[in-house]
């Protein structure tokens, strides 16, 4: 799962779920037991009977649906909530984030998240998610402003800080302001290093920036550092593989590429990138059988 999605969940998790309602209490109990099916059922029933139960049941129902891997239903729940409570910040944020995860170019997601920032001006997660949407949609200045707001509202040590600085770096780079971008990436890296579990996804963005600046040497040093704190981080292995391949070191490149593939998990983008690299590298090494396997995977996905 991409790091930004995890961070979006983190932003969502900041919503308060307190409510005195008995149905909610029951649902909470089920959730605590890991019985999301039961929780979803009683929440569904409760909301069918009374749509005016407040925003919280909608949020809880959405959470249950997500746990049950029912993303469409999760979105349906919060969209229902938004319809009933159009100024509810948590609902707006949840709906916007859910849409953004699958449709990064969605105008609806942008609209919901912008409304969320207005409904919850002090919520760093809302600004963070809105900034991410803006970044995805080539509105870099808006992205920078939103991420800066998220930074101002979050505390030092909050993982959101690392990611927000990283997105500012990406946005500044897109605006062709490399010095500002580098400052942001360096700030993100410094904050990242202080985390108990540094975020390799944020750090790899700095690597990408450095390579875009044709600074491969510095980039590879950072790759080495990433692989020290996150030895199983596939994208860093792939980046190392690409560097080795560019140097003509095809055998070690192949080995790194294979690690990248092993670590790609089920993420389709990582899998695809690794297979594409391996197909080419095996072909270059004259290992046609292996190359064909990777080619076939790509063609069938």
């Amino acid at each position: 799962m991409p790091v930004w999605i995890l961070l979006l969940w983190l932003a969502l998790a900041q919503n308060s779920l307190d409510s005195p309602d008995a149905t909610l209490q029951a649902a909470r109990t089920y959730i605590a037991q890991g019985n999301f099916v039961q929780a979803a059922e009683i929440l569904d029933r409760a909301l069918d009977a009374n749509t005016d139960a407040g925003s919280e049941p909608y949020l809880m129902l959405s959470e249950c649906r997500l746990r049950l891997d029912q993303k469409e239903k999760a979105l349906e729940a919060v969209e229902r909530g938004v319809k009933r409570y159009p100024t509810s910040g948590p609902l707006l944020k949840a709906a916007g984030v859910l849409i953004l995860q699958d449709h990064s170019d969605s105008q609806r997601a942008g609209e919901l998240l912008e409304r969320a920032t207005k409904a919850m001006p002090q919520d760093p997660g809302a600004h963070y998610a809105y900034g991410l949407w803006a970044l995805f949609n080539h509105r870099e200045e808006i992205a920078i402003a939103a991420e800066r707001r998220a930074l101002a509202l979050s505390s030092a040590g909050d993982p959101i800080q690392v990611q927000a600085w990283t997105f500012i770096g990406v946005a500044e780079d897109a605006l062709k302001r490399p010095q500002r971008a580098e400052t942001a990436f360096r700030t993100a890296l410094a904050a990242n290093r202080k985390l108990p579990n540094p975020n390799p996804g944020a750090a790899i963005e700095f690597v990408m920036f450095l390579t875009r600046q044709s600074r491969q040497g510095e980039a590879q040093k950072l790759v080495d550092e990433i692989l020290k704190f996150a030895p199983d981080f596939g994208p860093a292995h792939l980046e190392r593989a690409r560097y080795l391949s560019a140097q003509g070191d095809l055998e070690p490149a192949l080995a790194e590429g294979k690690i990248a593939l092993d670590q790609a998990g089920s993420d389709p983008k990582s899998l695809r990138a690794a297979h594409a690299f391996l197909a080419k590298t095996c072909f270059a090494l004259g290992r046609m059988d292996e190359a064909t396997i990777h080619q076939s995977w790509i063609e069938s996905h």
């Binding site: 170019d105 105008q107 949609n137 080539h138 509105r139 780079d173 897109a174 062709k176 490399p178 990408m208 390579t211 875009r212 600046q213 044709s214 491969q216 690409r242 391949s245 560019a246 003509g248 983008k269 695809r272 990138a273 690794a274 297979h275 594409a276 690299f277 197909a279 080419k280 072909f283 270059a284 190359a291 080619q295 790509i298 063609e299």
Partner: protein
């Protein structure tokens, strides 16, 4: 002994001379001609006399074809040594009727003084239907370059009669563009190359998607109608036609293997990337992986893009591939590939490592420069004659209402990336002159030395506007050499010939003869070399498609050298 101390008068004279020189420099700088090493272009379309307007017959229905036109050719139709220009044009929709003069394709004869004369009518090159791309070459080896126009539902071959007129020989040649099973196709680009080295140029026609106005979906973003994504259409295979040498062609698409690969073809470019003596084919596809057709030398091709590492960007993702060029950008003797795409794609640059390619888009600085751009035409030429081929992209959004749909400008300035000679490129667009920087709905681009001054010029089409005739006004002392090939055993244009140049100073350089560059375009077939400070070429080696190898020594720079195959 002469007193070295200057008198006030001498001093004044000296100051006056320097002031004069300074004023000249300032004056030159004001019109973009300062000898400063920068690459500069001047758009001369207004004084050139070219009044062509690329007309897509825009409709509220936003038919897919409207945004796709069109290519342009730079070729010397009358053999006067001056490259002429042929523009392809649209037609009235939905009837695809070209009878209104505003839709004529237009041929402009180069008068030699940076002006052009419209000779479309006398040449008989108005064309028919909704045109897309063009490929010019001498397919019958009679010494005159002919014209093939690719378009929607019909293609046309015009034979150059050698007297300033052309004859439509499409039917006789068997090149109407009708696929044996799919019927009429939508052809975007075409290219001439001699795949079997028999001395006659064969033709590849690059097809796009299955489209008809009757079956076109309506595409909206919110309430705003826009052009549909090609992802919603079925692709079409390219077609390969073997030149029989008697004015007719045989469809060898299936037999060759080319026709087995369904894509959404846009650009086509040729090079012998593995040095086996047979020309290979690169086809860029829109929202589909690119194709690299390796020429097996026996009349068949193997599609090896995934294995060779040029099918996708480095993330293994298909891009919206548009124009392409297949040329050696690092002077290692191995042709590299440059493709342009859509915003967010970056424009992939693949470095040839022999039998596979390395994606150097990021590390070369090209990603940084192109991530926010969409481009159509593309080419790799040495615009400042420093010995390193630079990159050009004709930029514009796909949507003509992208301001409304995604808050991005629909009209964009072109882009120029200077090859720094160390594997990296710098965006020098901002210094390339006001005419170069004007945002427009750019589409196809063709390259050539229109005024034979040794500097590569660019013709760029502009949707619903006049083209840009970008004359290269770069001021530097760099030398150059342009080679005009005349094949005798090989095809007469010498297309496919590989040339190695060893300048008197500086590194060895490589280029090859091809007219297929960019998006739907056809460029000056003469092979251009920037020589930097070298005033002479010690050795010029030509590997002709026939297999003949020819070496010429001690060649002076700054000339157009005609080499006859022997």
């Amino acid at each position: 002994m002469v007193n070295a101390v200057k008198t006030p008068l001498q001093l004044n004279r000296t100051v006056a001379v320097w002031m004069r020189i300074g004023l000249i420099f300032v004056g030159l700088a004001a019109i973009g001609m300062a000898p400063d090493g920068k690459i500069r272009f001047e758009n001369i379309v207004v004084p050139s006399g070219i009044s062509f307007v690329l007309d897509n017959s825009a409709t509220p229905q936003k038919h897919q074809i409207e945004t796709m036109i069109a290519g342009v050719a730079v070729f010397d139709y009358n053999n006067d040594g001056l490259p002429d220009i042929y523009f392809v044009n649209g037609a009235a929709l939905p009837a695809l009727d070209k009878s209104n003069p505003r839709f004529y394709n237009r041929l402009y004869r180069n008068n030699g003084n940076e002006t052009f004369t419209d000779v479309t009518d006398s040449a008989g090159l108005r064309g028919a239907g909704y045109g897309m791309g063009v490929a010019a070459a001498d397919y019958d080896n009679d010494g005159y370059e002919d014209v093939f126009v690719a378009g929607l539902n019909r293609n046309q071959l015009f034979h150059n009669n050698g007297d300033g007129t052309f004859t439509d020989v499409t039917v006789k040649a068997g090149l109407e563009g009708v696929h044996p099973t799919l019927g009429k196709t939508w052809s975007i680009s075409a290219g001439w190359f001699d795949y079997d080295n028999d001395g006659y140029l064969d033709l590849i026609v690059v097809n796009y998607v299955r489209w008809s106005p009757e079956h076109e979906p309506e595409c909206f973003v919110g309430k705003v109608r826009g052009y549909c994504s090609p992802a919603g259409f079925e692709g079409e295979p390219s077609m390969l036609f073997h030149n029989n040498g008697d004015g007719t062609f045989t469809d060898v698409s299936e037999k060759s293997g080319i026709g087995k690969h369904i894509g959404k073809g846009m650009g086509v470019a040729f090079a012998d990337y593995d040095g086996d003596g047979f020309t290979d084919v690169f086809v860029s596809n829109d929202t589909f992986r690119n194709f690299l057709f390796h020429n097996n030398g026996d009349g068949t091709f193997s599609e090896v893009a995934i294995l060779a590492g040029v099918a996708y960007n480095e993330d293994g993702k298909s891009i919206a591939g548009m124009g392409a060029d297949f040329r050696d950008i690092d002077n290692d003797g191995r042709p590299d590939i440059f493709v342009v795409g859509m915003i967010g794609d970056t424009f992939p640059l693949f470095r040839n490592r022999g039998r596979y390619f390395e994606d150097i888009t990021r590390t070369s600085g090209v990603a940084k420069a192109t991530v926010g751009l969409t481009a159509w035409g593309a080419g790799a030429f040495d615009f400042d004659n420093d010995g390193n081929k630079d990159l050009f992209a004709a930029c514009a959004s796909i949507l003509d209402n992208s301001e409304e749909i995604d808050h991005l400008p629909s009209k964009l300035p072109n882009q120029l990336l200077r090859n720094l000679g160390n594997g990296t490129f710098a965006d020098v667009s901002a210094d390339a002159g006001a005419g170069f920087l004007a945002p427009a709905a750019h589409r196809g681009a063709a390259f050539g030395d229109l005024n034979n001054d040794g500097r590569m010029d660019i013709v760029v089409t502009n949707l619903n506007g006049k083209p840009e005739i970008l004359m290269n006004r770069s001021q530097n002392a760099n030398h150059w050499l342009t080679v005009r090939l005349v094949g005798t055993k090989s095809n007469r244009d010498g297309l496919g010939a590989r040339i190695k140049v060893s300048p008197s100073t500086g590194p060895v350089q490589y280029n090859h003869a091809t007219a297929s560059v960019g998006y739907g375009g056809s460029s000056d077939r003469r092979v251009h070399f920037g020589l930097g400070t070298a005033a002479r070429v010690d050795k010029l080696e030509i590997a002709w498609p026939s297999g003949i190898r020819q070496t010429i020594t001690d060649v002076n720079a700054n000339q157009i050298l005609t080499v006859r195959e022997k």
